[in-house]
Symmetry: C2
Subunit: 469 residues, 2 copies
């Protein structure tokens, strides 16, 4: 079993009065059905579900505000829920309470093509947004893999494969609408591309995982669809060679749009899953965006750098269908890797280190997995120094879970000793609260706690996540 | 006179005990000399000086912490001071107290060239940093014009001419060391390029103008020096034509490094000041960074777009000395413009709007200046929708000041109605506190106030700035 430490003393039944008020407000969009609660009590982590006491499906910021007001009056926890794709137990109702499902808040409210901005409700997913703006010649680049909601992506400071070129939700969120712990509604910014107007409330809420407020609208930056796109894949004799190729690429200022790493195990699993015949060696997958000529030039330069690091098997894909095939393999890596141990569930680690330390951090972690007999594979957003070890575990075997968690703990300690972070993009949830303290130390955690206490004095917003209180 | 509203009742003499303790700690780096106090009581704004009661010159984070602890024990205001180049009265000692001068904290602590990061003490200026890292092949791009300190740039969320390509201090600060209101020392991040590890303390302090903590160390991102750089200048029949050229350039994804606008008055003044003979029409100044071929391609594309907007007088500068001459003219625009009205002082406005509204906002503001007989010129970081109206005023003439302030207030209202911000890069200081309320509204200002109260319960950190309390 992989149960979150659940302080059951903190779980109280939902007051009848609150239940009735929510039911009156949300009518058939209020539910206490076991199936609905169960669905909302889990994410993509390996935790067992912790269902809330009730779920409401909000359709507007005002409804979210009303629900929070009602819960606040009763001191009842409120948990925002987007697409349920988080990985660290973010949406588990650790202390019961009411989950606010935002998936019906799925309207694209405004697209300002000339300004390269869009404003969406929190439940809009990244694929939906890209679908709706396709005709403008623009796109929203951030791609965490899953078809996450924009509200959830902002709340976890998500990023993914092309953050190396376009940044993360931190850089690409211009403004938010947020419902505060007392049911107030706050707009945190404007559509100006930059601003020095006071405290950066937008960035206070980006990455706060529903613990400081509930994000209901997001204004993001858009980018012109590149005139040309090409992809390339090549293999390296060693992990170190692949990483040094990336370091040099970035130091030479080549504006790669994506550069993804797969270790031998990762390549083997996608070969099996997607019927590919890639050499079973550490591999880099590149994507270039730019003008026809620019893309050619970038690719040429990278090929030269790769060759200098003994790369082989350079394969090009400029036609959309070939690119899609390569990237589909990468995007399905998670599922492919799960097949490495049928019936297993994956624990995905997520650290990020200065790129000069990346090879060392990956290799030491790989060795630790091997020493402990853990079926694993490594994928990495190497341009950012961010990598994930997927460890295939049997959630019903406590020893198996404990071995994997111990490897993860040692990896985090290693990353921190290299001036890195315990999470590059997944967030803290309830899984990484101890690592957070390890990373920041008590003085900084104290500042975070003071922020939490100032913004949520009753501790009703997604309690038991991010920091202990 | 242009005096800040100074609540003199809040000004108390420095306690003798505190004075002695600071003198013992800082020895000859403690001063109450009128000249030293006067120098630290003013910035580049048109406000009359408001000197602190004493100045200490700190040489380490620990010394800053000790000074803050002593001041906190006596409830005495503490004001951080970097290079004194702020523009909105940020460093004025509105309620007296102790100014901590950080200019002697001027060591580059670490340069990690492979990781593209540098860690510096707060007093290091951007020119000094670029000088010290020149041999690494890297550079720090943010250029607010003045040779500001990195601590001050972080504290005001500064940016400048090449933010359009490289972002602002918001995007380029990886981590900070901060002394808190109780004299604690907090590290806000690591050298990882991205992180989802808890609340974004780095961004809480970036732009907080010394009111939430005192920044003593800054870790910033560096960039590879471009292989090739070229600059171009061209003139347009109208402001609208110039702005539409920029909109199209950005929508086509041309990665311009800088694109600066000067109106007719601005061009006239730099012609006179730098002995140039540019057509006295709205002008754009471009800079391109990239490979030799990439820069040629960008420039070609921009020339075509400009021609389609009736640009003329396209002039190229690829040789460093020619580029320097053009950019020197732009960098000295502030001083050139001051010559438009000898003896005058400039009030520089600073709003930022979505780029689709930029021409309208600039033209309406221009018309307002003309209607009110204000000698003025406009310069703009147009790729970001950010522009400055420099209004030449006689600070000794209250009517003159009032007229300019009224134009500024109307411009801010105009920018806000266009979903823009009251300050793109200068910050709030004491000059824009009312505008801040206008921009954000009471709910958001309430959240800012709660943050201030949580982090500085005695209100001793640069009191009377950013938000009223």
């Amino acid at each position: 079993m992989n149960s979150p430490a659940s302080p059951d003393t903190l779980r109280k039944p939902l007051p009848e009065e609150l239940k009735q008020a929510l039911a009156a407000l949300f009518e058939d969009r209020f539910s206490t059905a076991a199936a609905v609660r169960g669905h909302h009590g889990r994410d993509e982590s390996s935790y067992d579900p912790m269902p809330p006491d009730a779920v409401v499906f909000a359709q507007s910021t005002e409804e979210v505000a009303q629900a929070v007001k009602l819960c606040a009056a009763h001191g009842v926890p409120v948990i925002p829920y987007g697409a349920g794709t988080s990985l660290e137990g973010h949406v588990l109702a650790l202390r019961g309470g009411v989950t606010i499902d935002l998936s019906q808040m799925n309207r694209v409210l405004a697209v300002h093509a000339e300004d390269l901005t869009a404003t969406v409700e929190a439940g809009v997913t990244r694929k939906q947004l890209n679908q709706e703006i396709r005709d403008t010649g623009l796109f929203f680049p951030i791609d965490p893999g899953a078809d996450a909601s924009l509200g959830g992506m902002a709340a976890t400071r998500a990023s993914g494969t092309n953050a190396v070129r376009y940044g993360t939700m931190r850089e690409n969120t211009l403004a938010l609408t947020v419902v505060t712990a007392d049911g107030g509604i706050v707009k945190t910014g404007t559509r100006a591309r930059k601003s020095s107007a006071g405290y950066d409330l937008t960035r206070v809420f980006v990455g706060s995982e529903g613990t400081l407020g509930i994000i209901t609208e997001v204004t993001v930056r858009l980018y012109p669809q590149p005139e040309a796109v090409s992809a390339a894949v090549c293999s390296f004799p060693s992990t170190a060679a692949a990483v040094h190729c990336v370091i040099q690429t970035i130091q030479m200022g080549v504006p790669v749009a994506r550069v993804e790493f797969l270790d031998e195990n990762g390549v083997r699993s996608i070969n099996a899953h997607a019927g590919l015949a890639l050499p079973e060696k550490p591999l880099l997958l590149f994507e270039f965006h730019g003008s026809e000529q620019g893309v050619r030039e970038q690719a040429q330069l990278v090929q030269e750098i790769a060759a200098a690091h003994d790369a082989h098997g350079f394969e090009w894909a400029t036609r959309p269908e070939d690119r899609s095939r390569l990237w589909a393999a990468r995007h399905n890596a998670y599922f492919a890797m799960l097949q490495m141990r049928p019936g297993a569930r994956a624990i995905s680690t997520d650290c990020c280190v200065p790129i000069s330390r990346l090879a060392e951090c990956m290799l030491d972690t790989q060795a630790d997995c091997e020493k402990n007999g853990i079926v694993h594979a490594i994928i990495g957003h190497v341009g950012d120094g961010n990598f994930h070890v997927l460890m295939m575990i049997d959630p019903a075997d406590p020893q198996d879970v404990a071995r994997a968690e111990a490897v993860n703990a040692r990896m985090v300690a290693r990353a921190l000793s290299m001036d890195g972070t315990c999470t590059g993009e997944h967030g803290v949830g309830l899984h990484k609260m101890d690592f957070l303290l390890q990373e920041h130390g008590e003085p900084a955690i104290g500042m975070m706690r003071r922020l939490k206490q100032a913004y949520d004095p009753q501790n009703i917003l997604n309690p038991g996540k991010v920091i202990r209180w």
